[in-house]
């Protein structure tokens, strides 16, 4: 077992999955929002809704393409770097990933083709139905991925046979109580990401005095949706804390920076965890029973500290401790922005309040940062286990993987991803800067399925069109 290779493999997984999650978290929310916009367009007949729809569909296409391309890597990485895990948990994780792939392929790919090329070919109700199906497809994806990850966090419904985890009750795996607090948490995070990106774009257009009608709709809807969803998200965040507290005391203790058992517990707001001396430096702490109240919904509950857990079962305390606080901080800032912005919007003052518009514009990275730090909390907090309490990450790695191989692969991953991410981000930025087209949407005259990102092509440099032979 090569410890350097292990560390590099973990960094590689973290790097590739962090890169990947950026795109789905954006597209899941956007897909749902597009269905709403299409419904509004049909219900009100206002052209602004149609313009908004076509514009965000383009951006959805580019982000969706980047998500698919970076997702392919994920399907392989379990086998390349974590072959012991994939052999042992294959009977459970494999089928779940298959569901994710098959269902998403069927719904997203087929109905996405309708969205791009079907505007003039299918009746309006079917077009609306297609937007809903694309949103359903992305939601299915999120669901099966969350089931998969939740099984690694809180294993259930399995028996051990010949050194493998064999499913004996799929209902326990699919309807694991943990899934039903984590899946909504992720889904809401994605919706909030979509909401803030839309609101930020709207704010940018208002500041630049372009797209008068569309920018106000985006701003109002984005902030309004966030104002409603953000408190619900905090509630689900709290429910997630409860599952961590029940099933993963080591993760909870690291998040809370709690070294000693306490009854009732105090709550560390800010500190610098000093792992070597098992203490917090510069701590700002709320007295008991705040810790028990937050973690266990009780005034008297006992809270586990790291000292009562063997040190070989500790996660790297610092990462979950800070990642969690960054996530919550982003959430609270988003809540304040959404509520205050919606209040101003209700008073019809938002469009004239320049500081607030700038704040809204600059808020678009917050949901992404919150999602990434949230996943860091969940995944790094699960360490040293890959399947919690059953299989250690160190034992899950491909045993013959060398430092050299792991270094080479990590370096080329970083190079290629940096390269395409820069260009991809630049192209999305350029699309958003140009904004929605004022002309009626032109439909390519031949249906070309399955080319999501081609929506973003500029008129001037279009690929040649397709002319059918023999017709």
């Amino acid at each position: 077992m090569d410890m350097t290779a292990l560390l590099l493999s973990r960094i590689q997984f973290a790097f590739t999955i962090t890169f990947h999650i950026i795109f789905p978290s954006f597209t899941i929310g956007l897909a749902a929002w597009l269905s709403v916009i299409e419904a509004m367009a049909l219900a009100t007949g206002r052209p602004a809704y149609r313009v908004i729809f076509e514009f965000w569909l383009k951006i959805f296409g580019v982000a969706f393409g980047m998500g698919v391309v970076s997702g392919i890597v994920m399907a392989f990485q379990f086998g390349t770097n974590w072959s012991v895990l994939s052999k042992m948990s294959g009977p459970i994780q494999g089928p779940l990933l298959m569901y994710e792939t098959f269902w998403a392929f069927m719904l997203e790919a087929s109905f996405f083709g309708v969205l791009i090329f079907g505007r003039s070919r299918v009746p309006p109700w079917f077009y609306l139905f297609s937007t809903a199906m694309v949103a359903l497809g992305t939601t299915f994806s999120a669901f099966f991925i969350m089931v998969n990850n939740s099984w690694m966090q809180v294993p259930s419904g399995y028996v051990m046979e010949n050194g493998a985890f064999v499913p004996d009750d799929w209902t326990k795996i699919l309807f694991n109580s943990v899934v039903w607090s984590r899946f909504p948490h992720m889904l809401l995070a994605a919706y909030l990401t979509g909401a803030f990106c839309v609101a930020a774009t709207g704010a940018w257009y208002v500041l630049r005095k372009v797209y008068h009608a569309e920018s106000r709709i985006m701003l109002r809807m984005g902030l309004g949706l966030a104002a409603v969803l953000m408190p619900i998200q905090l509630l689900f965040g709290h429910l997630n804390g409860e599952y961590v507290n029940s099933y993963q005391p080591s993760k909870m203790a690291a998040i809370e920076g709690r070294w000693n058992d306490e009854k009732p517990g105090s709550e560390v707001l800010f500190a610098w965890p000093d792992v070597e001396h098992r203490r917090n430096l510069f701590a700002i702490t709320l007295p008991p029973p705040f810790g028990s109240l937050i973690d266990s919904d009780s005034l008297t509950a006992a809270e586990t500290g790291l000292n009562s857990i063997p040190q070989e079962n500790w996660p790297p305390v610092v990462i979950p401790f800070f990642a969690f606080r960054i996530m919550v901080g982003c959430g609270l800032v988003m809540l304040a922005l959404a509520w205050f912005g919606s209040y101003l919007s209700y008073k019809h003052r938002l469009a004239y309040n320049r500081p607030m518009l700038w704040l809204t514009f600059f808020s678009f990275p917050l949901p992404f940062i919150a999602i990434i730090t949230g996943w860091f909390t969940a995944e790094v907090g699960r360490q040293p286990w890959v399947v919690f309490g059953l299989l250690r990450t160190a034992d899950a790695m491909t045993p013959f993987l060398t430092t050299t191989e792991a270094t080479i692969s990590l370096v080329i991953f970083c190079a290629v991803y940096a390269f395409i991410f820069l260009f991809g981000t630049f192209y999305i930025y350029r699309l958003i800067r140009i904004g929605p087209a004022r002309k009626p949407f032109e439909v390519p005259h031949v249906v070309v399925p399955n080319r999501p990102m081609s929506l973003a092509d500029e008129e001037s440099t279009q690929a040649p069109n397709y002319i059918s032979a023999g017709e």
Binding site: G65, M66, V68, V69, G71, I72, A75, F76, F78, G79, T80, S83, V84, S86, K87, G90, P91, G94, P95, L97, M98, E100, T101, F102, W103, M106, A109, S110, G113, V166, P167, W170, F400, L401, T402, T404, E405, S409, I412, F413, V416, I420, G424, Y427, R430, V447, V448, P449, N450, R451, E458, T461, Q462, A463, P464, Y466, I467, S468, A469, E471
Partner: protein, 330 residues
């Protein structure tokens, strides 16, 4: 149930090889094309279908993990570096499709990554199959070949062979889809590529049979297996005739048939092993509780729907690609 998943795996691999093979082949040939107009026409011939084609690779990977986790774990870890490089090649190729039309000045970057990505991905797929045919070093079911155990003269030869094979598929696709000089160039390339591919196949099978006598015995014991090589020979004959006659539609089907017979010959030579002489199909299969769960939720309805979807997207995109810009009408 195990047989059901074996056949789904076979269908997925075959679909991937044929479909992504043709667009990777067009990518290889675009490296030989001169001038923006030709390259652009070649890209248009595969632009709408490439990512649907690539999806079959993911489908193959998840079937392998879900239904045969032992093989998934063994193969993916054994081919660590080549697989990761292949994936990055596919990524570069994929984004090149989309990004090249968004810039004039930097278009050459995306043209290079399109050709380079296609070349890397194709070569490594051939190399992987070659290494499997030759037999990877395994001890007690654990890969023991080190970082480059898959690198042998034979596997490199197979990598080159698959480049020829995919290029042939790509050329046969181009004569169906393109017009004027792009089609004419492809027509001239097909005989050269076809002779190369057939020579390569004969060589490989002769070598494989000579090296692995047990496989040869299986073939001699069951003469009806020779239906596949014979089909391949028949397809090669029809291919030659159709090239002489300047038929633009038959060659693609014939090359596909050659691929299918080569694939079937290979699979039958492996049978009942999934990794030759290491793990059999039955040893590799996931427990029944996994296979049944996948059968009802994915295999029996969703998989056929995916096939239908693929067929529909191809039928929608039939006919030739014009070399002129602007909107034409039916």
């Amino acid at each position: 149930m195990v047989m059901f998943w074996v056949s789904l795996l076979a269908v997925s691999i075959l679909l991937y090889v044929l479909l992504d093979g043709l667009d990777l082949g067009v990518g290889l040939l675009s490296g030989l094309a001169r001038g923006e107009a030709r390259r652009s026409a070649m890209l248009s011939a595969v632009a709408p279908i490439w990512d649907g084609n690539e999806t079959w690779l993911v489908v193959t990977a998840v079937i392998l993990w879900g239904a045969f986790p032992v093989v998934y774990a063994a193969l993916l870890s054994a081919f660590y570096l080549p697989l990761i490089v292949m994936l990055l090649g596919l990524i570069l190729r994929g984004v090149a499709f989309e990004f090249r039309y968004k810039t004039q000045r930097l278009r050459w970057i995306w043209d290079v990554s399109f050709v380079g990505g296609s070349l890397i991905a194709t070569f490594i797929q051939g190399l992987t199959v070659g290494a499997l045919v030759e037999g990877l070093p395994f001890t007690n079911g654990q890969y023991s070949g080190g970082a480059i155990g898959w690198l042998t003269p034979f596997s490199v030869l197979c990598g080159i062979g698959l480049c020829l094979g995919y290029a042939l598929l790509g050329a046969c696709w181009l004569i169906r889809k393109c017009e004027a000089d792009v089609r004419d160039i492809a027509r001239r390339q097909i005989p050269v590529l076809a002779i190369g591919v057939l020579a390569f196949l004969v060589l490989v099978f002769a070598y494989a049979l000579a090296e692995h006598l047990p496989i040869l015995h299986r073939w001699i014991d069951r003469p009806y297996l020779f239906v596949f090589p014979v089909t391949g020979a028949f397809a090669a004959t029809v291919l030659a005739l159709s090239i002489v006659k300047h038929d633009d539609y038959l060659p693609f089907y014939m090359v596909a048939l050659i691929f299918i017979s080569a694939f079937a010959t290979l699979a039958l030579s492996f049978w009942p092993y999934m990794i030759p002489s290491v793990i059999t199909v039955d040893q590799a299969a996931a427990p029944p509780s996994s296979l049944n769960f996948m059968f009802w939720g994915c295999g029996v309805i969703v998989f056929p729907l995916m096939l239908v979807y693929t067929a529909v997207s191809y039928s929608v995109f039939r006919g030739r690609v014009g070399t002129t810009s602007g909107y034409g009408h039916h």
